[in-house]
Protein backbone atom coordinates (compact mmCIF):
# COMPACT_ATOMS: atom_id res chain seq x y z
CA UNK A 1 0.00 0.00 0.00
CA UNK A 2 2.32 2.69 1.28
CA UNK A 3 4.77 3.19 -1.49
CA UNK A 4 5.69 6.71 -0.41
CA UNK A 5 5.77 7.89 -3.95
CA UNK A 6 4.10 11.31 -3.91
CA UNK A 7 5.95 14.51 -4.67
CA UNK A 8 4.05 17.67 -3.89
CA UNK A 9 4.40 21.43 -3.97
CA UNK A 10 2.69 23.18 -1.08
CA UNK A 11 1.81 26.85 -1.04
CA UNK A 12 1.13 27.59 2.60
CA UNK A 13 -0.05 30.84 4.16
CA UNK A 14 2.58 32.11 6.60
CA UNK A 15 1.69 35.01 8.85
CA UNK A 16 3.61 36.00 11.97
CA UNK A 17 0.63 37.44 13.83
CA UNK A 18 -2.55 39.46 13.46
CA UNK A 19 -0.58 42.70 13.10
CA UNK A 20 1.65 41.70 10.19
CA UNK A 21 0.78 40.84 6.62
CA UNK A 22 1.02 37.24 5.52
CA UNK A 23 2.02 35.59 2.24
CA UNK A 24 1.94 32.21 0.53
CA UNK A 25 5.27 30.39 0.85
CA UNK A 26 6.27 27.46 -1.40
CA UNK A 27 7.46 24.14 0.05
CA UNK A 28 8.59 21.07 -1.87
CA UNK A 29 7.74 17.72 -0.32
CA UNK A 30 8.89 14.33 -1.57
CA UNK A 31 8.17 10.72 -0.61
CA UNK A 32 4.76 11.43 0.87
CA UNK A 33 2.71 8.29 1.54
CA UNK A 34 -0.76 8.34 -0.01
CA UNK A 35 -2.02 6.77 3.23
CA UNK A 36 -0.99 9.72 5.35
CA UNK A 37 -3.60 12.12 6.55
CA UNK A 38 -3.30 15.73 5.43
CA UNK A 39 -2.18 16.72 8.93
CA UNK A 40 0.44 13.96 9.05
CA UNK A 41 1.81 15.40 5.82
CA UNK A 42 2.07 18.73 7.66
CA UNK A 43 3.82 16.95 10.55
CA UNK A 44 6.43 15.66 8.08
CA UNK A 45 6.86 19.14 6.63
CA UNK A 46 7.22 20.67 10.09
CA UNK A 47 9.84 18.04 11.07
CA UNK A 48 11.82 19.05 8.01
CA UNK A 49 11.48 22.74 8.86
CA UNK A 50 12.57 22.14 12.46
CA UNK A 51 15.60 20.15 11.25
CA UNK A 52 16.53 23.12 9.07
CA UNK A 53 16.08 25.40 12.12
CA UNK A 54 13.14 27.13 10.46
CA UNK A 55 9.92 28.12 12.17
CA UNK A 56 7.37 25.27 11.86
CA UNK A 57 3.91 26.00 10.45
CA UNK A 58 1.30 26.61 13.14
CA UNK A 59 -2.02 24.86 12.56
CA UNK A 60 -4.93 23.80 14.77
CA UNK A 61 -5.52 20.10 15.47
CA UNK A 62 -6.60 18.00 18.39
CA UNK A 63 -8.49 14.69 18.15
CA UNK A 64 -7.55 13.88 14.53
CA UNK A 65 -10.63 11.71 14.24
CA UNK A 66 -13.08 14.25 12.86
CA UNK A 67 -15.07 15.08 15.96
CA UNK A 68 -13.35 17.95 17.79
CA UNK A 69 -13.66 20.66 15.14
CA UNK A 70 -10.13 21.98 15.66
CA UNK A 71 -8.62 21.48 12.25
CA UNK A 72 -9.30 24.32 9.90
CA UNK A 73 -7.48 24.45 6.61
CA UNK A 74 -8.74 26.01 3.40
CA UNK A 75 -7.28 23.62 0.83
CA UNK A 76 -7.29 24.47 -2.87
CA UNK A 77 -10.19 26.87 -2.39
CA UNK A 78 -12.35 24.61 -0.21
CA UNK A 79 -12.60 24.20 3.56
CA UNK A 80 -11.30 20.77 4.63
CA UNK A 81 -10.22 20.08 1.04
CA UNK A 82 -11.79 18.32 -1.93
CA UNK A 83 -13.77 15.54 -0.19
CA UNK A 84 -17.33 15.91 1.07
CA UNK A 85 -18.23 15.21 4.72
CA UNK A 86 -14.66 14.99 6.02
CA UNK A 87 -12.53 17.23 8.17
CA UNK A 88 -8.93 18.07 7.25
CA UNK A 89 -7.61 15.47 9.71
CA UNK A 90 -9.64 12.74 7.99
CA UNK A 91 -8.51 13.79 4.53
CA UNK A 92 -5.90 11.46 3.09
CA UNK A 93 -3.13 12.20 0.66
CA UNK A 94 -4.59 9.64 -1.75
CA UNK A 95 -7.18 12.33 -2.51
CA UNK A 96 -4.38 14.15 -4.33
CA UNK A 97 -2.15 13.21 -7.23
CA UNK A 98 1.60 12.92 -7.47
CA UNK A 99 3.02 16.26 -8.60
CA UNK A 100 0.03 18.31 -7.37
CA UNK A 101 0.36 21.87 -6.16
CA UNK A 102 -1.76 22.36 -3.04
CA UNK A 103 -2.66 25.81 -1.73
CA UNK A 104 -3.40 25.93 2.00
CA UNK A 105 -4.87 29.04 3.59
CA UNK A 106 -6.43 29.82 6.97
CA UNK A 107 -10.19 30.46 7.40
CA UNK A 108 -10.68 34.05 6.31
CA UNK A 109 -13.25 36.19 8.08
CA UNK A 110 -13.21 39.43 10.02
CA UNK A 111 -14.68 37.51 12.97
CA UNK A 112 -11.88 34.89 12.73
CA UNK A 113 -8.63 36.91 12.95
CA UNK A 114 -5.44 35.02 12.15
CA UNK A 115 -3.39 34.21 15.25
CA UNK A 116 -0.44 32.72 13.38
CA UNK A 117 -0.04 30.98 10.01
CA UNK A 118 -3.07 28.67 9.60
CA UNK A 119 -4.50 29.14 13.10
CA UNK A 120 -7.37 31.56 13.50
CA UNK A 121 -9.18 32.79 16.59
CA UNK A 122 -12.61 31.14 16.64
CA UNK A 123 -13.66 32.29 20.11
CA UNK A 124 -16.42 34.30 18.39
CA UNK A 125 -18.24 30.94 18.17
CA UNK A 126 -17.76 30.40 21.92
CA UNK A 127 -19.25 33.80 22.66
CA UNK A 128 -22.28 33.02 20.45
CA UNK A 129 -22.79 29.76 22.38
CA UNK A 130 -22.37 31.54 25.71
CA UNK A 131 -24.96 34.12 24.65
CA UNK A 132 -27.42 31.25 24.31
CA UNK A 133 -27.37 30.84 28.07
CA UNK A 134 -28.76 27.96 30.07
CA UNK A 135 -31.56 25.43 29.63
CA UNK A 136 -33.91 24.58 32.47
CA UNK A 137 -33.35 20.94 33.39
CA UNK A 138 -33.38 19.32 36.80
CA UNK A 139 -30.04 18.31 38.21
CA UNK A 140 -29.43 15.28 40.42
CA UNK A 141 -29.71 11.68 39.33
CA UNK A 142 -29.95 10.95 35.63
CA UNK A 143 -33.57 10.96 34.50
CA UNK A 144 -35.26 7.93 33.05
CA UNK A 145 -34.36 7.85 29.37
CA UNK A 146 -37.94 7.95 28.18
CA UNK A 147 -39.44 10.24 30.81
CA UNK A 148 -40.15 12.82 28.11
CA UNK A 149 -41.69 11.37 24.97
CA UNK A 150 -40.04 12.83 21.84
CA UNK A 151 -41.13 11.84 18.32
CA UNK A 152 -38.43 9.91 16.48
CA UNK A 153 -38.15 12.32 13.56
CA UNK A 154 -37.85 15.26 15.97
CA UNK A 155 -35.12 13.52 17.95
CA UNK A 156 -33.29 12.66 14.74
CA UNK A 157 -33.43 16.25 13.48
CA UNK A 158 -32.10 17.53 16.82
CA UNK A 159 -29.34 14.95 16.74
CA UNK A 160 -28.36 15.90 13.20
CA UNK A 161 -28.15 19.57 14.22
CA UNK A 162 -26.11 18.61 17.29
CA UNK A 163 -23.58 16.90 15.01
CA UNK A 164 -22.09 20.36 14.34
CA UNK A 165 -18.50 20.39 15.62
CA UNK A 166 -18.13 24.16 15.36
CA UNK A 167 -15.15 24.00 13.01
CA UNK A 168 -16.15 27.14 11.11
CA UNK A 169 -16.02 25.67 7.60
CA UNK A 170 -19.41 27.28 6.94
CA UNK A 171 -18.03 30.73 7.71
CA UNK A 172 -14.84 30.01 5.78
CA UNK A 173 -16.60 29.01 2.58
CA UNK A 174 -19.50 31.48 2.69
CA UNK A 175 -18.95 34.36 0.29
CA UNK A 176 -20.34 36.61 3.04
CA UNK A 177 -18.43 34.95 5.92
CA UNK A 178 -21.83 34.35 7.52
CA UNK A 179 -22.11 32.11 10.58
CA UNK A 180 -25.78 31.29 10.14
CA UNK A 181 -25.34 27.56 9.57
CA UNK A 182 -23.36 27.19 12.79
CA UNK A 183 -25.66 29.39 14.87
CA UNK A 184 -28.81 27.79 13.45
CA UNK A 185 -27.50 24.31 14.25
CA UNK A 186 -26.81 25.33 17.85
CA UNK A 187 -30.27 26.89 18.09
CA UNK A 188 -32.03 23.94 16.43
CA UNK A 189 -30.50 21.23 18.61
CA UNK A 190 -32.34 22.78 21.57
CA UNK A 191 -35.38 24.26 19.80
CA UNK A 192 -36.37 20.79 18.57
CA UNK A 193 -36.41 19.19 22.01
CA UNK A 194 -38.80 19.71 24.94
CA UNK A 195 -35.87 20.58 27.21
CA UNK A 196 -35.09 23.57 25.01
CA UNK A 197 -38.57 25.11 25.08
CA UNK A 198 -38.59 27.38 28.18
CA UNK A 199 -35.80 29.65 26.86
CA UNK A 200 -36.38 28.98 23.15
CA UNK A 201 -37.31 32.51 22.05
CA UNK A 202 -34.89 34.29 24.37
CA UNK A 203 -32.08 32.09 23.13
CA UNK A 204 -32.61 32.79 19.42
CA UNK A 205 -32.62 36.54 20.00
CA UNK A 206 -29.49 36.56 22.18
CA UNK A 207 -27.51 34.26 19.91
CA UNK A 208 -28.43 36.16 16.72
CA UNK A 209 -27.54 39.46 18.40
CA UNK A 210 -24.13 38.05 19.44
CA UNK A 211 -23.57 36.62 15.94
CA UNK A 212 -24.18 40.08 14.45
CA UNK A 213 -21.97 41.78 17.05
CA UNK A 214 -19.06 39.49 16.15
CA UNK A 215 -18.99 40.88 12.60
CA UNK A 216 -20.09 37.83 10.63
CA UNK A 217 -21.73 38.58 7.28
CA UNK A 218 -25.37 38.11 6.30
CA UNK A 219 -26.67 34.88 4.78
CA UNK A 220 -27.64 35.02 1.10
CA UNK A 221 -28.72 31.38 0.82
CA UNK A 222 -26.03 30.30 -1.63
CA UNK A 223 -25.95 26.90 0.11
CA UNK A 224 -22.14 26.76 0.08
CA UNK A 225 -22.08 26.10 3.86
CA UNK A 226 -24.31 23.05 3.61
CA UNK A 227 -22.27 21.69 0.70
CA UNK A 228 -18.96 22.11 2.55
CA UNK A 229 -20.03 21.20 6.10
CA UNK A 230 -18.04 18.12 7.23
CA UNK A 231 -21.06 17.05 9.30
CA UNK A 232 -23.72 17.67 6.65
CA UNK A 233 -25.66 20.27 8.67
CA UNK A 234 -28.76 21.19 6.67
CA UNK A 235 -30.01 24.59 5.50
CA UNK A 236 -33.32 23.62 7.11
CA UNK A 237 -31.73 24.75 10.36
CA UNK A 238 -31.28 28.29 9.02
CA UNK A 239 -34.95 28.44 8.02
CA UNK A 240 -35.89 27.18 11.51
CA UNK A 241 -33.72 29.86 13.12
CA UNK A 242 -35.36 32.51 10.91
CA UNK A 243 -38.84 31.27 11.94
CA UNK A 244 -37.93 31.28 15.63
CA UNK A 245 -36.41 34.75 15.27
CA UNK A 246 -39.59 36.12 13.65
CA UNK A 247 -41.73 34.44 16.31
CA UNK A 248 -39.55 35.96 19.02
CA UNK A 249 -39.58 39.45 17.52
CA UNK A 250 -43.11 39.68 16.15
CA UNK A 251 -45.16 37.34 18.33
CA UNK A 252 -43.49 37.26 21.73
CA UNK A 253 -44.12 40.28 23.96
CA UNK A 254 -40.85 39.87 25.80
CA UNK A 255 -37.94 42.17 24.96
CA UNK A 256 -34.39 40.89 24.87
Amino acid sequence: MSTGNMNLTLKVWRQKNNKTKGALVDYKLSDISPDMSFLEMFDVLNEQLINKSEEPIVFDHDCREGICGSCSMFINGRPHGPKDLVTTCQLHMRSFKDGDTIVVEPWRAKAFPVIKDLTVDRTAFDRVIAAGGFISVNTGNAQDANALPIPKNQADAAFEAAACIGCGACVATCKNASAMLFVSAKISQLALLPQGQPERYRRVQSMVAQMDAEGFGNCTNTGACEAECPKGISLENIARMNRDFYAAKFVSEEDI
Partner: protein
Protein backbone atom coordinates in the same frame (compact mmCIF):
# COMPACT_ATOMS: atom_id res chain seq x y z
CA UNK B 1 -42.72 48.84 26.95
CA UNK B 2 -42.32 46.05 24.46
CA UNK B 3 -40.79 46.97 21.12
CA UNK B 4 -39.62 45.25 17.96
CA UNK B 5 -36.03 45.98 18.98
CA UNK B 6 -33.49 45.00 16.34
CA UNK B 7 -36.06 42.96 14.41
CA UNK B 8 -35.27 44.78 11.14
CA UNK B 9 -31.69 45.90 11.73
CA UNK B 10 -30.40 42.42 12.63
CA UNK B 11 -28.86 40.19 9.97
CA UNK B 12 -32.04 38.11 9.75
CA UNK B 13 -34.22 41.24 9.70
CA UNK B 14 -32.30 42.73 6.80
CA UNK B 15 -32.72 39.51 4.88
CA UNK B 16 -36.43 39.48 5.74
CA UNK B 17 -36.75 42.90 4.12
CA UNK B 18 -34.90 41.66 1.01
CA UNK B 19 -37.15 38.60 0.84
CA UNK B 20 -40.45 40.43 1.30
CA UNK B 21 -39.61 43.21 -1.17
CA UNK B 22 -38.25 40.59 -3.58
CA UNK B 23 -41.49 38.60 -3.50
CA UNK B 24 -43.45 41.82 -3.90
CA UNK B 25 -41.40 42.72 -6.98
CA UNK B 26 -42.05 39.22 -8.32
CA UNK B 27 -45.79 39.83 -7.96
CA UNK B 28 -45.34 43.08 -9.88
CA UNK B 29 -43.49 41.21 -12.66
CA UNK B 30 -46.53 38.94 -13.06
CA UNK B 31 -48.90 41.88 -13.55
CA UNK B 32 -46.47 43.73 -15.81
CA UNK B 33 -45.89 40.63 -17.90
CA UNK B 34 -49.64 39.98 -18.26
CA UNK B 35 -50.47 43.54 -19.39
CA UNK B 36 -47.53 43.67 -21.80
CA UNK B 37 -48.40 40.27 -23.26
CA UNK B 38 -51.50 41.95 -24.67
CA UNK B 39 -49.25 43.11 -27.53
CA UNK B 40 -49.24 39.47 -28.70
CA UNK B 41 -52.95 39.87 -29.59
CA UNK B 42 -51.32 41.65 -32.55
CA UNK B 43 -54.20 44.03 -33.23
CA UNK B 44 -52.05 47.10 -33.75
CA UNK B 45 -51.81 47.56 -30.01
CA UNK B 46 -55.52 48.36 -29.35
CA UNK B 47 -55.90 45.76 -26.57
CA UNK B 48 -52.51 46.66 -25.09
CA UNK B 49 -53.29 50.39 -25.09
CA UNK B 50 -56.57 49.63 -23.32
CA UNK B 51 -54.65 47.71 -20.65
CA UNK B 52 -52.10 50.52 -20.34
CA UNK B 53 -54.93 53.04 -20.06
CA UNK B 54 -56.48 51.03 -17.21
CA UNK B 55 -53.11 50.78 -15.43
CA UNK B 56 -52.53 54.51 -15.84
CA UNK B 57 -55.93 55.66 -14.63
CA UNK B 58 -57.14 53.18 -12.00
CA UNK B 59 -56.49 54.78 -8.61
CA UNK B 60 -55.71 51.49 -6.85
CA UNK B 61 -53.03 50.77 -9.44
CA UNK B 62 -51.69 54.30 -9.15
CA UNK B 63 -51.47 53.97 -5.38
CA UNK B 64 -49.72 50.60 -5.75
CA UNK B 65 -47.29 52.27 -8.15
CA UNK B 66 -46.00 54.35 -5.23
CA UNK B 67 -45.71 51.23 -3.07
CA UNK B 68 -43.89 49.53 -5.95
CA UNK B 69 -41.30 52.29 -6.24
CA UNK B 70 -40.86 52.30 -2.47
CA UNK B 71 -40.39 48.50 -2.48
CA UNK B 72 -37.92 48.73 -5.34
CA UNK B 73 -35.88 51.44 -3.64
CA UNK B 74 -35.79 49.51 -0.35
CA UNK B 75 -34.71 46.35 -2.20
CA UNK B 76 -31.93 48.26 -4.00
CA UNK B 77 -30.75 50.17 -0.92
CA UNK B 78 -30.80 47.11 1.32
CA UNK B 79 -29.08 45.06 -1.40
CA UNK B 80 -26.16 47.47 -1.67
CA UNK B 81 -25.92 47.72 2.13
CA UNK B 82 -25.81 43.95 2.53
CA UNK B 83 -23.26 43.70 -0.25
CA UNK B 84 -20.99 46.24 1.48
CA UNK B 85 -21.41 44.58 4.89
CA UNK B 86 -20.77 41.13 3.49
CA UNK B 87 -17.60 42.29 1.77
CA UNK B 88 -16.44 43.89 5.01
CA UNK B 89 -16.98 40.58 6.81
CA UNK B 90 -14.00 39.18 4.86
CA UNK B 91 -11.34 41.92 4.67
CA UNK B 92 -8.64 39.59 3.32
CA UNK B 93 -9.71 37.53 0.29
CA UNK B 94 -8.63 33.98 -0.46
CA UNK B 95 -5.79 33.46 -2.93
CA UNK B 96 -7.68 30.40 -4.23
CA UNK B 97 -11.44 30.03 -3.77
CA UNK B 98 -13.29 27.26 -5.55
CA UNK B 99 -16.84 28.58 -5.20
CA UNK B 100 -18.04 26.50 -8.15
CA UNK B 101 -17.52 23.36 -6.02
CA UNK B 102 -20.27 24.29 -3.58
CA UNK B 103 -22.67 26.86 -5.05
CA UNK B 104 -24.13 28.28 -8.27
CA UNK B 105 -22.37 31.29 -9.78
CA UNK B 106 -25.60 33.29 -9.97
CA UNK B 107 -26.35 32.74 -6.29
CA UNK B 108 -22.96 34.29 -5.55
CA UNK B 109 -23.53 37.15 -8.04
CA UNK B 110 -26.90 38.58 -6.94
CA UNK B 111 -25.36 42.01 -6.38
CA UNK B 112 -23.84 42.11 -9.85
CA UNK B 113 -27.02 40.81 -11.52
CA UNK B 114 -29.10 43.29 -9.53
CA UNK B 115 -26.84 46.17 -10.55
CA UNK B 116 -27.21 45.19 -14.21
CA UNK B 117 -30.98 45.18 -13.71
CA UNK B 118 -30.79 48.62 -12.08
CA UNK B 119 -28.93 50.05 -15.08
CA UNK B 120 -31.54 48.48 -17.35
CA UNK B 121 -34.38 49.84 -15.20
CA UNK B 122 -33.07 53.41 -15.48
CA UNK B 123 -33.09 53.14 -19.30
CA UNK B 124 -36.43 51.29 -19.28
CA UNK B 125 -38.25 53.73 -16.99
CA UNK B 126 -36.97 56.76 -18.92
CA UNK B 127 -38.09 55.22 -22.23
CA UNK B 128 -41.64 54.30 -21.22
CA UNK B 129 -42.86 55.18 -17.76
CA UNK B 130 -41.62 58.80 -17.77
CA UNK B 131 -43.19 59.32 -21.21
CA UNK B 132 -46.51 57.77 -20.33
CA UNK B 133 -46.82 59.57 -16.98
CA UNK B 134 -45.16 62.95 -17.50
CA UNK B 135 -43.83 64.00 -20.89
CA UNK B 136 -46.83 62.62 -22.69
CA UNK B 137 -47.52 60.17 -25.50
CA UNK B 138 -47.80 62.13 -28.79
CA UNK B 139 -50.50 60.06 -30.53
CA UNK B 140 -53.80 58.36 -29.70
CA UNK B 141 -55.23 55.15 -31.14
CA UNK B 142 -58.71 54.78 -32.66
CA UNK B 143 -60.20 54.12 -29.22
CA UNK B 144 -58.85 57.44 -27.97
CA UNK B 145 -56.26 55.77 -25.68
CA UNK B 146 -52.66 57.01 -25.53
CA UNK B 147 -50.77 55.04 -28.14
CA UNK B 148 -48.09 53.57 -25.87
CA UNK B 149 -47.89 50.68 -28.33
CA UNK B 150 -46.58 53.04 -31.04
CA UNK B 151 -43.86 54.23 -28.64
CA UNK B 152 -42.89 50.59 -28.04
CA UNK B 153 -42.72 49.76 -31.73
CA UNK B 154 -40.64 52.86 -32.41
CA UNK B 155 -38.28 52.22 -29.48
CA UNK B 156 -37.62 48.65 -30.52
CA UNK B 157 -36.49 49.56 -34.01
CA UNK B 158 -33.14 50.33 -32.36
CA UNK B 159 -31.11 47.06 -32.38
CA UNK B 160 -28.84 48.28 -29.55
CA UNK B 161 -31.85 48.74 -27.28
CA UNK B 162 -33.28 45.35 -28.26
CA UNK B 163 -29.95 43.78 -27.33
CA UNK B 164 -29.91 45.64 -24.00
CA UNK B 165 -33.40 44.36 -23.24
CA UNK B 166 -32.53 40.76 -24.09
CA UNK B 167 -29.35 40.87 -21.98
CA UNK B 168 -31.28 42.44 -19.11
CA UNK B 169 -33.80 39.60 -19.28
CA UNK B 170 -30.96 37.07 -19.08
CA UNK B 171 -29.83 38.87 -15.91
CA UNK B 172 -33.41 38.81 -14.64
CA UNK B 173 -33.68 35.07 -15.25
CA UNK B 174 -30.54 34.35 -13.22
CA UNK B 175 -31.47 36.88 -10.51
CA UNK B 176 -34.84 35.15 -10.08
CA UNK B 177 -33.38 31.66 -10.38
CA UNK B 178 -31.70 32.30 -7.05
CA UNK B 179 -34.01 34.96 -5.64
CA UNK B 180 -37.36 33.16 -5.94
CA UNK B 181 -36.54 30.12 -3.80
CA UNK B 182 -34.12 32.11 -1.63
CA UNK B 183 -36.90 34.47 -0.52
CA UNK B 184 -38.93 31.55 0.81
CA UNK B 185 -35.92 30.14 2.66
CA UNK B 186 -35.34 33.55 4.27
CA UNK B 187 -38.99 33.69 5.32
CA UNK B 188 -38.42 30.36 7.04
CA UNK B 189 -40.38 28.36 4.50
CA UNK B 190 -38.19 25.30 4.32
CA UNK B 191 -40.33 22.22 4.34
CA UNK B 192 -39.78 18.75 2.93
CA UNK B 193 -43.15 18.86 1.16
CA UNK B 194 -43.25 22.46 -0.08
CA UNK B 195 -39.61 23.35 -0.78
CA UNK B 196 -39.26 21.05 -3.83
CA UNK B 197 -42.45 22.62 -5.24
CA UNK B 198 -41.22 26.16 -4.55
CA UNK B 199 -37.89 25.37 -6.18
CA UNK B 200 -39.39 23.99 -9.38
CA UNK B 201 -42.00 26.75 -9.61
CA UNK B 202 -39.14 29.22 -9.14
CA UNK B 203 -37.13 27.75 -12.00
CA UNK B 204 -40.10 27.69 -14.38
CA UNK B 205 -41.22 31.18 -13.37
CA UNK B 206 -37.71 32.65 -13.83
CA UNK B 207 -37.21 31.16 -17.26
CA UNK B 208 -40.72 31.70 -18.64
CA UNK B 209 -41.19 35.29 -17.51
CA UNK B 210 -37.77 36.28 -18.86
CA UNK B 211 -38.46 34.62 -22.22
CA UNK B 212 -41.88 36.30 -22.53
CA UNK B 213 -40.42 39.72 -21.69
CA UNK B 214 -37.46 39.25 -24.04
CA UNK B 215 -39.80 38.11 -26.84
CA UNK B 216 -41.53 41.53 -26.87
CA UNK B 217 -38.68 43.74 -28.17
CA UNK B 218 -37.42 40.92 -30.40
CA UNK B 219 -40.85 40.38 -32.00
CA UNK B 220 -41.25 44.10 -32.57
CA UNK B 221 -37.78 44.48 -34.04
CA UNK B 222 -38.43 41.60 -36.43
CA UNK B 223 -41.76 43.13 -37.41
CA UNK B 224 -43.81 40.17 -36.14
CA UNK B 225 -45.84 42.51 -33.92
CA UNK B 226 -46.93 45.78 -35.52
Amino acid sequence: MASFGNAFSSSIGKKLIMGITGLFLISFLLVHCFINSLIFVNDGGLTFNMGAHFMGTNWIIRAMEIVLFAGLLVHIYQGFRLWAQNRAARPERYAVNNGAANSKWYSRSMGLLGTLLLIFLIVHISKFWVKSRFTGIPTQDVNGNHDLFAVMVETFQNPALVLLYVLAMVSLAYHLLHGFASAFQTLGWNHKKYTPIIKSVGVWFSILISIIFAAMPVAMYLGLIK
